[in-house]
């Protein structure tokens, strides 16, 4: 079974936690998650660390639950939107001689991720949605350039209302050719304004 560290799960154990004000508890839960991560690196025997990347409500935790939870790995389930925090996690894992993988979950369309984002119990500001989707991609590009030996997997999550059975789907892309992969990442960068418009809300 994977050892999963998730700041969202940690939030639920914080005193007075209120999901409608989840953002207020985010800094503290992230601090505790980072501490749990360091403890896991120091004390746990798993050889591999998977660091998740992707904007809020992109489907990261759902991907972890469906495809990683049965593996013998340590998973840090976060957005990796802050580059220095992400690279610190990489450096620490390497220091403890762990294999590091990055798994980035991107929504097939921002509008679907946005629908999940504002409808779930855990509420964040809209700014948080735009920032994490934009910054997680730019951080991923920097990581791909600065850590060429670290394998990166991109997973596209989608919702298919017409599909029978499970309506959530995942498609996977691995970085077989690093140069092509970096070019692909470059072409898929979005700033916050572009994400706003990709939702189709503001161009009526």
């Amino acid at each position: 079974m994977a050892y999963i560290i998730s700041s969202d799960d940690i939030k639920e154990g914080l005193p007075d936690y209120d999901p409608s004000r989840a953002e207020v508890f985010h800094e503290e839960s992230t601090r505790l998650a980072d501490k749990a991560y360091e403890d896991a690196l120091r004390n746990r025997s798993e050889d591999t660390v998977v660091i998740m990347s992707g904007g809020s409500a992109s489907g990261k935790s759902e991907y972890v639950s469906a495809y990683l939870s049965s593996k013998q790995v340590i998973v840090y389930d976060g957005t990796s939107s802050k580059l220095t925090r992400a690279t610190t996690k990489i450096e620490k894992a390497l220091k403890y001689k762990k294999n590091v993988e990055i798994h980035a979950v991107w929504p097939a369309d921002f509008a679907t991720a946005f629908e999940a984002f504002f409808s779930r119990d855990r509420q964040f500001s809209l700014k948080h949605f735009y920032r994490t989707h934009s910054d997680s991609r730019s951080s991923l590009l920097r990581i791909a350039r600065e850590y060429p030996d670290i394998p990166i997997t991109i997973i596209k999550s989608s919702y298919n209302p017409k599909k029978k059975g499970q309506k959530m789907e995942f498609r996977i892309l691995t970085d077989k050719n690093k140069d092509d992969f970096i070019e692909f990442l470059q072409k898929n960068q979005y700033n916050e304004e572009q994400i706003k418009h990709a939702q189709g809300l503001y161009d009526v």
């Binding site: 779930r120 809209l126 959530m168 996977i172 706003k196 503001y202 009526v204």
Partner: protein, 91 residues
């Protein structure tokens, strides 16, 4: 670059099902969006049409709320610059 489809998550996966439920709830919500002509109301899942036009914000919100009540869903109001203004829950 080609993506390979992963096997479907189990239907019993609670985490995935909660996400699907949130998306479906979101698709039933209503957006009130300002532009130069007035205020549009549209269902979140209808992305090909701007929706119904109202001359005032209050008229648009009233219409959206009436429709949201029937679906037990939310109304989200956005300002002209695209910033999120308010969420009116009908839960």
């Amino acid at each position: 670059m080609t993506f390979k489809t992963l096997p479907s998550p189990a239907k019993s996966n609670k985490q995935v099902q909660e996400y699907v439920n949130a998306v479906e709830k979101g698709r039933n919500s209503y957006f009130v969006v300002q532009n130069g002509k007035g205020w549009y109301v549209r269902k979140a899942s209808v992305r090909t049409s701007p929706g119904k036009l109202f001359p005032t914000k209050s008229a648009a919100i009233s219409n959206a709320q009436a429709r949201a009540v029937r679906r037990n869903s939310k109304v989200l109001v956005f300002d002209r610059d695209g910033s999120f203004h308010s969420s009116l829950s009908e839960d």
